[in-house]
């Protein structure tokens, strides 16, 4: 659980200093579960860091802390960008929401399903949400069509059968849901990309597609932090590996 | 020709104060009327008294008339345009008995005209006062029965509801179905119920030289339109207020501009006649056809 500070790259996108997180279970008499203790790391643009180690060591927790789904108890998490630097550990909800639109993407292990929204729109809406402009009906319809086109391209690349595109993903298989999730995470280029087991339910063909997507993101300057259970994938994409013992 | 009934100006019959109401009540009503005139179209509550006839028979109009009538006034009372109906006759006799003043059926000769459900066809002048009998003073009543709420709507000039009513009419009937008691906007501010006069009569209220007073006895409210005030019937830009021509002429006098009643004559035939009996008589006497 303890990690040492890594070397500081000059174009660091993310610098984590001494991040700690514990869970306090009030329903169990305030039982405390320390999960992350003084974690430090940094990632540069175009780099991919793999978090490796047995499950239950806090790897997923770290990703959730970076995304804001989990609270951070102490430490600093500097996210650098053209518009300045922000400490994710103490960022306001508004700032985090703003970052999630574009700057930070997260592909979780499980797709949280919104009822009635088609797989295509789950992905397309990410593009629309990235742009906060208020659009009139015509402009909106146009923007939606363009977003759907981009979504189709990506879903096709991930070999999701087109017969599924107009269906809500609630009834999809694990692998199908995961591909929708991946498409949603990759469809908008971001500054920081967090991947939690992105290939877990995928066959070899689609695993390779994901690997190419990660390569492209890196080439685009995205900083990637990922958890890859598959050593082949890890070896293919990771610039550095950080062990979580 | 002149149906003037003259009691000899003897004053009220024994035991009655002039015009039945006591002086303090008259003063109270006059104060309310002054307020009403100062705020055209705005409903002013007043202490409506017990009158010797039931609600629904014009107690409001009677109290207004009683408050303003003077010894040298001449009174005309009409009911749906006619001086001869039971209601008109009773009210006219009531005032004759309690004031001793002159009464008439001729619009031109009257200084005070009390009316139910019509405006006289003869244009009124600035020496005249028209008193309307009003059953329900609140134009929004059918859509919003809560008085407290309508007070707020009037105060806030929030008349969306009134337009909703008109919208509904057009949606269902393709035109505004309201053929009487058609709501109007007075002096560009208050929306008012003109009482159940036919919408045919609405244009007469606009910039009328006479003072128009409205009394609702059961609801205990009165309101007023000062002379020469703008009175506009509510409508939509693309469905403007229009008076529909009835498409008939009066069988008796040939008038095509007056409001006609459809009646069945002694032979059982449907004929159209002027609702305003004085107007009809006048035209016929001019034409030399009075019997």
């Amino acid at each position: 659980m303890k990690r040492d500070a890594m070397s500081q790259a000059s174009n660091a996108v993310l610098e984590v200093h001494g991040l700690s997180k514990r869970f306090t279970m009030h329903l169990r008499g305030a039982l405390e579960l320390p999960v992350l203790d003084q974690v430090s790391l940094d990632v540069s643009a175009g780099e991919c860091i793999a978090l490796a180690g047995p499950s239950g060591r806090g790897k997923s927790t770290l990703l959730k802390c970076l995304y804001g789904s989990y609270g951070i108890d102490s430490g600093r998490v500097w996210l650098h960008g053209d518009d300045g630097t922000i400490d994710l550990a103490s960022a306001s909800a508004q700032d985090v929401l703003s970052l999630r639109r574009r700057a930070v993407s997260y592909v979780s292990q499980f797709l949280r399903v919104v009822p009635r929204v088609s797989a295509l729109d789950v992905v397309a809406q990410r593009i629309l949400e990235a742009d906060p402009a208020v659009l009139d009906d015509e402009a909106y319809a146009q923007a939606f069509e363009q977003a759907r086109a981009a979504a189709r391209a990506l879903l096709a690349r991930l070999n999701l059968p087109s017969t599924l595109w107009d269906l809500p993903p609630a009834t999809f298989s694990g692998g199908e849901q995961q591909r929708v999730n991946i498409a949603r995470g990759f469809v908008v280029p971001s500054r920081l990309l967090l991947l939690d087991e992105p290939t877990a339910s995928l066959d070899l063909v689609n695993r390779d597609v994901v690997v190419s997507l990660i390569h492209e993101a890196k080439a685009n300057g995205t900083a990637v932090i990922g958890i890859f259970h598959d050593p082949a994938v890890r070896d293919a994409v990771a610039t550095r590996t950080i062990p979580f013992e | 020709m002149n149906a003037r009934q003259d009691n000899g100006c003897a004053g009220p019959a024994e035991g009655y104060n002039f015009a039945y109401l006591d002086e303090r009540t008259k003063r109270m009503i006059r104060r309310a009327l002054l307020k009403a005139v100062a705020i055209p179209g705005h409903q002013v509550p007043f202490g409506s008294r017990e009158m010797p006839l039931a609600y629904g028979w014009g107690t409001g109009g009677i109290q207004v008339t009683a408050a303003i009538i003077g010894a040298d006034d001449t009174l005309k009372v009409i009911d749906q345009g006619s001086d001869d109906t039971t209601n008109a006759v009773n009210i006219r006799q009531f005032f004759a008995r309690t004031t001793g003043i002159a009464t008439t059926t001729r619009t031109r000769d009257a200084t005070v005209i009390q009316t139910r459900h019509r405006i006289p066809e003869t244009p009124l002048a600035d020496y005249q006062i028209l008193v309307y009998q009003v059953p329900q003073p609140e134009p929004l009543y059918k859509l919003e029965a809560r008085r407290a709420e309508t007070l707020k709507l009037h105060a806030a000039e929030d008349y969306a509801l009134m337009n909703v009513k008109l919208y509904e009419d057009i949606a269902h009937w393709n035109h505004v179905e309201t053929t009487y008691d058609y709501p109007v906007r007075v002096d560009g501010r208050y929306v008012m119920s003109p009482s159940p006069i036919p919408s045919f009569d609405n244009p007469k209220m606009h910039r009328m030289p006479a003072l128009q007073l409205f009394g609702a006895g059961r609801e205990k409210r009165l309101y007023a339109i000062p002379p020469y005030t703008d009175v506009v019937s509510l409508d939509f830009e693309d469905h403007p207020f229009r008076v529909e021509s009835q498409g008939h002429a009066c069988t008796l006098c040939g008038s095509r501009e007056s409001y006609l009643d459809e009646v069945i004559d002694e032979r059982g035939v449907r004929i159209w006649t002027c609702s305003d009996s004085d107007w009809c008589d006048d035209r016929r006497s001019v034409a030399g056809t009075t019997t």
């Binding site: 329903l27 909800a93 009635r116 929204v117 | 806030a156 969306a160 949606a171």
Partner: protein
């Protein structure tokens, strides 16, 4: 990076006269609502969430506290000292309120088209044809059959009535919409459809919304941020996924663990 909030509430406290133990219905509640943001107020019965909403809407005059709203002209208004007339105008233009029971938020005696057009008529729109066009347009947006534009809401199902209520409120493009349990009492599939509609419209129109609900799933689906109330107090607030996935307060943890997943 930080825009100005649309609404701020500071130290709001309200006691109902005759409350048994003198406990305030809402105690010292503070929150801020930002443009184009949805905040859910969750809690169980008696938590004070509806009272808080009604105070914000100006329907209840709270005992203490500050409620300020930034209007379309960028002026800060003190909701508590608004005149009745100002409050009524705001509530027909920049604000919307979706009632839990559609009957309370609709005019049951007039047609669907009139229900939608009323706010526009209140704003002075006097062209029948255009009013009707907008009513059609909105019926389409809320997925109501436009053939029923002249029908009375009596014949509409609960879900349809709620959608009509939403159209009635949104037709004037309000900046702030308050909703009190908008989906409670509806069948599950009807709820899903309604939530989808709310989600879509709110996002499309960049509305700010405050949604009171006892259903954590509604919060998860609709809200960017969530406030948890218990016995009149806000015990936790934050990003919805953070509050539901990593609850800090004991009560929030209890709430989250009590939800039955299908």
């Amino acid at each position: 990076m930080s825009p100005q909030p649309l609404l701020t509430v500071d130290g709001l406290t309200h006691r109902f006269a005759g409350a048994r133990d003198g406990r305030p219905a809402v105690g010292d509640a503070s929150l801020a609502l930002y443009p184009a943001e949805v905040v859910a107020i969750v809690g169980e019965s008696g938590s004070g969430k509806s009272t808080l909403l009604n105070c914000i809407a100006g329907r209840i005059a709270p005992g203490h506290g500050d409620i300020r709203y930034r209007d379309a002209d960028d002026r800060w208004l003190d909701v508590r000292t608004l005149s009745e007339r100002e409050r009524r105008t705001l509530s027909r233009t920049e604000w919307g309120f979706v009632e839990q029971n559609a009957v309370d938020g609709l005019r049951m005696g007039v047609s669907a088209g009139a229900n939608i057009g009323e706010r526009l008529m209140g704003q002075g729109q006097r062209h029948y044809g255009r009013l009707r066009e907008q009513a059609y347009d909105w019926m389409n947006r809320v997925e109501l059959d436009t053939d029923r534009i002249d029908d009375l809401p009596h014949g509409f199902s609960g879900g349809m009535r709620q959608r009509l209520q939403i159209a009635r409120n949104l037709v004037t493009q309000p900046r702030l919409v308050l909703m009190d349990e908008p989906t409670s009492g509806l069948d599950v599939s009807v709820q899903a459809r309604l939530l989808d509609l709310i989600r879509t419209l709110v996002s499309r129109m960049h509305l700010s919304a405050l949604i009171v609900t006892h259903d954590l799933g509604v919060a998860r689906l609709l809200a960017h941020r969530t406030l948890v109330m218990r016995e009149g107090r806000i015990v936790e607030q934050g990003l919805t996924d953070r509050v539901l996935d990593d609850p800090q307060h004991a009560y929030t943890q209890l709430l989250v663990s009590s939800v039955v997943m299908p």
